[in-house]
Symmetry: C2
Subunit: 201 residues, 2 copies
């Protein structure tokens, strides 16, 4: 298991490598550092954490590096995602092509508002949240994204957990309780803005 900060850098290394000209056979840690906007020393530490070795003076083999990063990120495996809450944020995520590029497949988006049922949302159509358990049955390993108002978030998380979902990304501004074997991560865009403002002073 590598550190979370390392995982967040791997998609950036991949984006740079996949943007290289087909003739590029090798890449140096410095090129990778410039391409991914990361310090050279961090690139070398990340590569050694992943057990990836380059050749002194030559660098890393591009094809080998891409293959290794794909394996590390589980890119070959189709990862199923459901979104609960088809409001502004849910729809923005459903329509975001970046999820597909990273190997995620939206298999369902749910809401409680009958006005929204059947509307297109990315590759899916909005379903009635009452169908959630039926659709999740027999599909272990599905990831859940929670984009409902804070007041109903705990109820939705409880339903996802009862249906066997083990990993949840929540945008709702509430602290959620969940069993220890379920990974619930909170996302707060205000924190990103806070970081931006801190370094602007």
């Amino acid at each position: 298991r590598v550190a979370r900060a390392t995982i967040t850098r791997l998609p950036r290394y991949l984006a740079y490598l996949e943007g290289l000209d087909a003739q590029a056979k090798t890449v140096s840690s410095q090129q990778l550092a410039d391409g991914a906007a990361v310090k050279d020393a961090i690139v070398r530490r990340d590569m050694s954490d992943l057990g990836i070795t380059g050749t002194r003076g030559v660098g890393y083999d591009v094809a080998e590096l891409v293959e290794h990063l794909h394996r590390e990120l589980g890119r070959g495996e189709a990862r199923r995602v459901v979104i609960i809450g088809a409001g502004h944020l849910g729809l923005a995520l459903a329509n975001y092509r970046g999820f597909g590029d990273a190997g995620f497949k939206l298999v369902g988006i749910y809401d409680a508002d009958p006005e929204l049922f059947g509307n297109a949302a990315g590759d899916a159509r909005v379903s009635n949240v009452a169908e959630l358990e039926k659709d999740l049955a027999g599909n272990p390993g599905t990831l859940g994204i929670v984009t409902v108002p804070g007041g109903v978030a705990q109820d939705i998380v409880d339903r996802l957990v009862a249906a066997g979902v083990k990993s949840i990304l929540s945008f709702a501004p509430t602290t959620l309780s969940h069993p220890d074997d379920v990974d619930v991560r909170h996302m707060d865009l205000a924190t990103e803005l806070q970081v931006l403002a801190y370094f602007a002073r």
Copy 2:
């Protein structure tokens, strides 16, 4: 200047402290660790990086800690934010109460689609993006959030930079060029999902 990772933890410490009962006068690093879902050793390192000392066996003074964290995060200063792109993502951000709670004030949201002009978006109304420069004139220090399609993101960033904006948070899936004295940070929710999936395996 403290590290970025430390800054992202401060709002979590504040949220825990501000949720405490009014009678709580002191808090231990362990309580803070549990409240903010952070390891105790990291709490102590963060506090020492910020120059905050507790009393051995007693802990930190709650009122003093809150005041110090507010100052560090610039909570007292009203930070002006503009959002460019009033689509799904732009509207989700404009309506998000978490920005106001963190001390950010949405002063304008802009779009190029005349159908959207005048619509309510959080505390603002959607304006014509042609007005952007006029509205930014004389307001240095405004932060920019870019939620337009990838194809127009560079043009919008160029306009923000020319209007004097120094800090930009972009959600557009494109690499953006900008002068060295302008801080442009990219946000990719696919990376958050990638981290969740990595630890789920």
